[in-house]
Structure formats: structure tokens, C-alpha cells
């Protein structure tokens, strides 16, 4: 099996380049992360990539595999064919090889205040929810912040400093839906303007690539409906 990997070390390389590796005896169930680990262990210890849990929970190993953003640890080789091309997540500054600088992504995430905003005095007991209210958070809270969605979004490529991006907007939707949150007006006011929310043109790359099968595009649509109700 041939694996072509994006390489760039800013300390020694003038420009990025693709480097080919060959691996034998690879079964179709083998995950791409395992291929990378084998290459690093057996052929080239300078190859750099992020990894942690290895089972699609931590979101560390998001990368562009055969043209689509995926988590290497839960992408079986059998889905990809005989030739595999691995690049870093698109649109982000490359630190080294497959490692990108996600500062911009985390800045946008922090900007939507991904925590409960409450104005009432803190209660003696937990803030309770009915099962129905809790159900409204399904499909919103499961995001692992792997950045596969935001870095596949053309609007985020064009305006990463101004557009919040699908991952951050999914979190905004999660707290707008939360029955315990009291910051609805504050959150919607913050999202108005030409860039933060409305650069989303429903391209839906985010939904296509989400490794947790979430639907940021639908969540953004719900925020836009809430925004409309808010101004009427």
C-alpha cells in the first residue's frame, strides 16, 4: 500500500512537499492512525502528527485523508482504496507535517461563551431539567472539537478571523437550546452582524465530514430562526 503524506518542517524546509511511504500486510480493518504510527516507528521517526485516545473520543487526530477531513483513528483503510493521501486540516497554519495551529479555531469557540449564562442567584440544588428539555440538547452537546467541520468550511477558510465557523456555532446552538441558560438575547446580539453567523451559506461540508455524525448546518439554521424571532 502506498501512503503519500504532507511534510513540512519550517526549520529545515523551504516549502511543503509530499513524501511517499510503502507498507505491506495492511488489512482493510486497519485504521489510518495505525499506519501513521507504523511509519513513525518503522520508517521515519521525524513524521509528526497529533494523537491521543485512538478511538474517536478526544478529537486530536483530525486530518485530511483522501480529500476529506476525518479522524485517523476511526478511519479504516478499507474505505480508502489502495492509495492514501494524507494532508493537514485545510486552511490552518501548519506547525509541522500534519500538526496545525488551531488558535483561531479555539478563539472562535471561546467567543460564543460555551458555558451556561445565568442571571438568577445560584440555586441551593442543581439546575433541574425535564427529560424533554434535556432531549433538546441531543445532537448538539456531543461535539469533540476535532475541527474537521470548521476546517472543511469554505466560509471559514475565507474569513477565519470573523466567521465563528460550524463548530463554534454548534456550541452556540447547544447553549441557546439549553433550558437553564438565560443568555439568549446576549448570545443572539453577539452573533448578529454580517460575519459571525451569516457567513454560513449552508454549503454543508461541515455536516458531511463530522466524524460524530452531528449536523452543524441544521443547528446554524435553528440559530437563524431564533434570530428572526428575536428581532420580530
Amino acid at each position: 500500500m502506498r501512503i503519500s503524506i504532507y511534510r513540512y518542517n519550517p526549520e529545515t524546509d523551504q516549502a511543503p512537499y509530499m513524501q511517499d511511504y510503502r507498507l505491506d500486510e495492511v488489512s482493510s480493518e486497519t485504521m489510518v492512525l495505525e499506519l501513521l504510527t507504523r511509519i513513525k516507528a518503522e520508517q521515519d521517526e521525524s513524521l509528526s502528527f497529533r494523537r491521543s485516545c485512538g478511538e474517536g473520543v478526544c478529537g486530536s487526530d483530525g486530518m485530511n485523508i483522501n480529500g476529506k477531513n476525518r479522524l485517523a483513528c476511526i478511519t479504516p483503510v478499507g474505505e480508502l482504496g489502495e492509495s492514501i493521501e494524507i494532508r493537514p486540516l485545510p486552511g490552518m497554519p501548519v506547525i509541522r507535517d500534519l500538526i496545525v495551529d488551531l488558535s483561531q479555531f479555539y478563539h472562535q469557540y471561546r467567543s460564543v461563551k460555551p458555558y451556561l449564562i445565568t442571571h438568577d442567584a445560584e440555586p441551593e440544588i442543581e439546575r433541574l431539567q425535564s427529560p424533554q428539555e434535556r432531549d433538546r440538547l441531543d445532537g448538539l452537546y456531543e461535539c469533540i472539537l476535532c475541527a474537521c467541520c470548521s476546517t472543511s468550511c469554505p466560509s471559514f477558510w475565507w474569513n477565519p478571523d470573523k466567521f465563528r465557523g460550524p463548530a463554534a456555532l454548534l456550541q452556540a446552538a447547544r447553549f441557546l437550546e439549553d433550558s437553564r441558560d438565560q443568555g439568549t438575547a446576549e448570545r443572539l446580539n453577539e452573533l448578529d452582524g454580517p460575519y459571525r453567523l451569516y457567513r454560513c451559506h449552508t454549503i454543508m461540508n461541515c455536516t458531511d465530514v463530522c466524524p460524530k455524525h452531528l449536523n452543524p448546518s441544521e443547528a446554524i439554521g435553528k440559530i437563524k430562526k431564533k434570530m428572526l424571532k428575536h428581532i420580530i
Partner: protein
């Protein structure tokens, strides 16, 4: 209205204008198609009817509003130097405004059967 302009309002304008244009085309195209005979005098008569004239004028306004939001979106996405963006937005606005003046110059005199 507590929100500042620039986000939700253009978004609403784009959707409302699209809705109106779709409805207008669904009604006006068959009406024009069915008009017999399909010649200048028949068309002229159609546009002299106040309801059709007003509906067509509203269609033109919706089209230009829709085009403004769409063109503005493209410039916000792709053109980042502020000076160039401002100049292109100005050109787009002037172009659409001249289209509006031209269209109103054609449609409004027909309202009462003049021209």
C-alpha cells in the same frame, strides 16, 4: 428591533425577496404565456393594468434587493482589502441603482396607459 443592521436584516430581505419573486414568476409567466395574441399591443396592455404594473415593479425591487445582498455576500467572502471592497460595493450599488431608475422609467409611465 434591538439588533444592528448587517446580519439578520439582509438575510431576511434575501429570503422574502426570493419568495416574492418565485410567487410572481409562478403567476406572471403563465399569464404572459396565455395572453393572446403574443404581440406588442397585448404586452403593452398587460403592463398598463395597475395591479400587474405594481406587481412587476415590486418584482424588480425584489430582484435588485436580492442582487444587492447576494453581491454584497460575494464581496464580503472574497474581497478583503477594505478600500477595494468599499469601491466594489459602491460600484455594485451604483449599477443596481441605475437599473432601478431605468426600470422605474419604463414601468411607471405605463401605469395609466401612457407611453
Amino acid at each position: 428591533m434591538t439588533l444592528r443592521a448587517g446580519g439578520v436584516r439582509p438575510w431576511v430581505l434575501q429570503r422574502l425577496s426570493a419568495l416574492y419573486m418565485a410567487l410572481f414568476l409562478l403567476l406572471a409567466v403563465p399569464a404572459a404565456w396565455l395572453a393572446e395574441p403574443l404581440d406588442f399591443s397585448t404586452w403593452h396592455a398587460m403592463f398598463t393594468r395597475p395591479w400587474f404594473n405594481v406587481a412587476t415593479t415590486l418584482f424588480c425591487l425584489a430582484l435588485l434587493g436580492h442582487a444587492w445582498v447576494g453581491g454584497r455576500d460575494i464581496l464580503l467572502d472574497y474581497v478583503h482589502p477594505p478600500g477595494l471592497r468599499f469601491a466594489l460595493l459602491g460600484l455594485l450599488g451604483l449599477f443596481l441603482l441605475s437599473m432601478l431608475v431605468w426600470l422605474l422609467g419604463i414601468l411607471l409611465p405605463l401605469m395609466g396607459g401612457v407611453a
